[in-house]
């Protein structure tokens, strides 16, 4: 996939970083670059962080500092289906914790973990701003609204069934 000899990062990202270097305050694009890397690879690996630091001419320590500071960035890969249970206030008040408990017991994993088959990973997310439809769960880009814990196994089964086809 990678045609660039020196970097494992895709050409698209290397080009983007070079474009940033031609702008004013290139180091200010670090967060945007990490967004792009995570968008393509799903998470930020150590080698990619190193390469970003090298390309952008910013100390790796700073890059790592930024990557670990912000909740949005992941340093570990996640499952094919990323389940995010919204833990915002409205969802909390409407029972998001029992939905989360159901996901945990159905999948047999804890928050921040991935199932052994790599199919599902589970995380709690900050408010996604759909408070009026609380509790809300997102699985990849799909939003499930007004979720109750009894629905959890059905949701998972549907995904598994679709996956088998």
């Amino acid at each position: 996939m990678c045609t660039n000899k020196k970097y494992t990062l895709s050409d698209e990202i290397v080009d983007y970083i070079n474009e940033c270097l031609s702008k004013e305050h290139p180091e200010s694009y670090l967060i945007a670059i990490l967004h792009k890397v995570q968008g393509i690879y799903g998470f930020l690996s150590e080698i990619h962080l190193d390469e970003v630091a090298h390309l952008l001419q910013v100390p790796t320590a700073n890059v790592y500092g930024v990557a670990t500071f912000y909740h949005y960035f992941r340093l570990k890969p996640r499952g094919q289906f990323a389940i995010s249970v919204c833990m915002g206030t409205a969802c909390f008040v409407k029972g998001a914790d029992s939905v989360l408990t159901s996901f945990k017991s159905e999948l047999g994993i804890d928050m921040g973990e991935t199932t052994s088959d790599g199919l599902f990973s589970l995380e709690g997310t900050r408010c996604i701003g759909v408070c009026a439809l609380a509790p809300v769960v997102t699985i990849n880009d799909r939003v499930y609204s007004n979720v109750v814990s009894q629905q959890v196994s059905q949701i998972l089964n549907e995904i598994k069934a679709a996956e088998r086809v």
């Binding site: 912000y70 915002g88 409205a90 008040v93 409407k94 009026a132 439809l133």
Partner: protein, 727 residues
């Protein structure tokens, strides 16, 4: 030299608004909401279905229009059908299977589907709906509400209330016409005309001419470009909407957010053209100062003063303006809605601000969690550039200004202005000590003005209608309106905008429709993790910056979560503290360590391991953190806990002394038991129990082994026979 206004007029002329205007062309418009929340409720499939039916019908005079969200979240997806000479009809919870009925019956057949209409509690189709602007009625000498008086006169003329519906509205944005207590102002639908008059005789005259003879009374008719004309036209008959006053959200749910034609038709970029024509930055700053607008991000700093400081404190050729759209408060979504529903107004507000302060570059700092908002604002920036409202030499004025989007990455503390600046610079989003304030030394050391989305969206109307108009809305110290995200245990969840000074009761019970399931109201949490819980006896508190502070909460960004008697205040306090503790950036000790210690104490209380001395310690610690933390996050983090202790001390004491949670929400303080009479022995709970602590085989009464139970509640949730009891 009215060159700029002329140029603006020319752009407006070139835009083909008529093609989507119901009135001028006789077409029917089907309006489908399109925002994150609408899409989550299934709006996209609905839009697709309507398009299919339109194609199949072969009619070319039916069009679909997408809009942002109107704020009526619990009834989404909302679909509006606007046919010529008819009331705009709004349908609620339109799922794909309801589309065909609406299309056949209403769009093609002309008969609205009454059962699906929004907030429709009657089958009557009225001849007229009349909305009164009743902000001043209590000041009238006779104390009789105008709408009541009007109904009396209608009855006098023998007109039944099945023909005419009379409603009370709030401040309906009639700018210059709401200035005195003597005049009545009312809008009559579907003609959408406004009458203003003083006497009962005039009222009679209007009834005779308009209602009986069906001609418009020219004597009392007023013509005004009103801020919320389109809004009232579409939603004026629904009480959820007409109790509100919309300035920030004036276009949300009305215009197509991806179409500049719609925005310009709603007076978009007019304010920008006006100020460029006037070419007087000081005038703009004075207008904003005189308007009394305060920052809507939570702090409430006077906007005009911030602008003046940025303009004058330092002579620097480089200055920046920033829009803070890092809406990190869990439970608030007004910024998302404004960005998704009316992105151009934020661009316009920022451009006006930049001109007044001498900035030529602006940044929009948006949460990465809002992909649709990002796409909408990106699109709006691109279009605004194409039309010359952004970029070099804006409208031929010689003024250059451009915008760049920067994404946040999920850090609550980045809502703090110095942390946000660090984040834009590509660093960890940690705050620094102020002063120097950003207006002196901000982004890369240059003077910088940061305002949030709602603040920027307020700027264009203030310029168009003037500071005096804005200054009349609200209370002495808090002017204008405020948007709230109403959620939690309330019937009508959604986004609302009310004048400052409206009481919490009016918001929750009049607009919100009261507590969900008619449960007992317990408290309302305002201001998110920085705010506090306001108990029932303080529910008549007016909403303004100072009053909310007095009762131990704050305006914050505008989250408003309603709690009912089933909610545990200790749990709620713990929830917010867990959030701020997690989001604490770790730079200063009081916030980093203090919030953790507070959380530990709360943990002990919710698990029944605390002693009474812990409660005093918690209170003292909270106040210490407030006084000594570096930034706003730490200074306000203890608020939810402190206000909960002040208002619900008894509930804390029951947890500590009796090891009991009155609302059965603290899992460690409750236990689950099988009700033998109801248990059918289906084994579902036993199979689902994660620690396998439920005994009893098929058709045997089950039993929970208390010593092994982890109190996850799974058995309680899955039991189909209500045979599990929580004690």
């Amino acid at each position: 030299m009215p060159e700029i206004l002329k140029k603006y007029g020319k752009i407006k002329e070139t835009l083909d608004y008529a093609s989507t205007d119901v009135k001028s062309t006789g077409i029917t418009v089907i309006q489908v909401g399109s925002a994150t929340c609408e899409n989550a409720a299934g709006a996209e499939a609905v839009k697709f279905e309507f398009q299919k039916l339109i194609n199949a019908s072969g009619r070319d005079n039916i069009v679909i229009k997408q809009t942002g969200c109107t704020g009526r979240c619990s009834q989404e997806p909302i679909v509006g059908v606007f046919a010529p000479d008819n009331f705009p009809v709004k349908y609620k919870q339109v799922t794909v299977d309801k589309v065909a009925e609406i299309f056949q019956s209403h769009v093609l057949g002309g008969t609205p589907v009454v059962s699906l209409m929004l907030d429709k509690n009657t089958n009557i189709i009225y001849d007229h709906i009349i909305t009164f602007c009743e902000t001043n009625y209590e000041k009238r000498p006779d104390h009789l509400e105008l709408s009541e008086l009007f109904q009396e006169r209608l009855a006098h003329h023998g007109i039944s209330n099945e023909r005419v519906r009379v409603l009370k509205g709030g401040n309906i944005g009639l700018s210059r016409f709401e200035d005195d207590d003597q005049h009545a102002v009312m809008i009559v639908f579907p003609e959408n005309v406004i009458y203003r008059y003083e006497t009962v005789e005039a009222m009679d005259e209007i009834i005779k001419e308009h209602i009986i003879d069906k001609t418009i009374n020219q004597k009392y008719l007023i013509h005004t470009e009103k801020l919320t004309e389109e809004y009232m036209k579409f939603y004026g008959d629904v009480s959820f909407f007409n109790k509100q006053s919309r300035i920030t959200l004036r276009n949300c749910g009305i215009i197509d957010p991806e179409n500049i034609t719609d925005y310009i038709h709603a007076q978009g970029f007019k304010a920008l053209a006006l100020i460029l024509e006037k070419n007087d930055p000081e005038w703009i700053i004075n207008e904003i100062l005189d308007s009394g607008l305060r920052g809507r991000g939570g702090g409430g700093f006077p906007v005009g003063a911030k602008w003046r400081n940025t303009r004058t404190l330092k002579q620097d050729p480089i200055k920046y303006v920033i829009c803070n759209a890092d809406e990190g408060d869990p439970g608030a979504f007004m910024d998302r809605s404004a960005l998704e529903g009316d992105p151009f107004s934020i661009i316009e507000g920022m451009t006006i601000g930049a001109f007044s302060m001498g900035a030529s570059k602006g940044y929009l700092y948006i949460r990465a969690e809002y992909p649709l908002a990002i796409a909408r604002i990106e699109n709006a920036i691109k279009i605004a550039r194409e039309y010359g409202f952004l970029g070099k030499d804006i409208l031929g004025s010689g003024f250059d200004f451009d915008l760049e989007i920067r994404l946040g990455a999920g850090a609550f503390v980045c809502g703090e202005e110095t942390a946000l600046i660090h984040s834009i610079e590509g660093l960890r989003g940690q705050p620094r000590i102020r002063p120097p304030y950003p207006s002196l030394s901000g982004l890369w050391g240059h003077p910088t003005c940061i305002n949030n989305v709602e603040t920027w969206a307020n700027i264009p109307p203030i310029i168009i209608y003037g500071a005096e108009w804005f200054n009349r809305i609200g209370t002495v110290g808090s002017k204008g309106t405020k948007v709230f995200a109403l959620a939690g245990k309330v019937k009508n969840t959604g986004l609302i905008e009310v004048p400052m000074g409206t009481t919490l009761r009016e918001v929750i019970f009049d607009i919100g429709g009261g507590v969900f399931g008619d449960n007992q109201f317990k408290a309302v949490q305002t201001g998110g993790p920085s705010g506090g819980c306001i108990p029932e006896h303080l529910i008549d508190t007016p909403i303004d910056y100072e009053s909310l502070k007095e009762v131990g909460s704050m305006m914050g960004s505008g989250g408003m979560i309603v709690l009912d008697h089933t909610d545990c205040m200790v749990q709620t306090a713990r929830y917010f503290l867990e959030f701020t503790q997690d989001e604490s950036c770790g730079k200063c000790l009081p916030c980093r360590e203090g919030t953790l210690r507070m959380l530990e104490i709360l943990e002990r209380i919710t698990t029944g391991q605390a002693v009474m001395a812990d409660l005093d310690k918690l209170y003292r610690l909270g106040n210490m953190i407030k006084k000594t933390s570096l930034c706003g996050l730490g200074q306000s983090a203890p608020n939810p806990v402190l206000s909960a202790i002040e208002n619900f001390r008894e509930e804390f004491e029951i947890h500590i002394k009796e090891h009991r949670c009155p609302t059965q929400k603290c899992s460690k303080l409750i236990s689950y038991h099988v009700i033998a009479d109801k248990c059918t022995g289906c084994t579902l709970c036993a199979r689902r129990c994660p620690v396998l602590c439920i005994t009893g085989g098929r058709k045997q009464v089950h039993e929970i082994i208390q010593s092994q139970c982890i109190k996850c509640g799974e058995c309680f949730n899955v039991c189909k026979f209500d045979a599990i009891q929580k004690i």
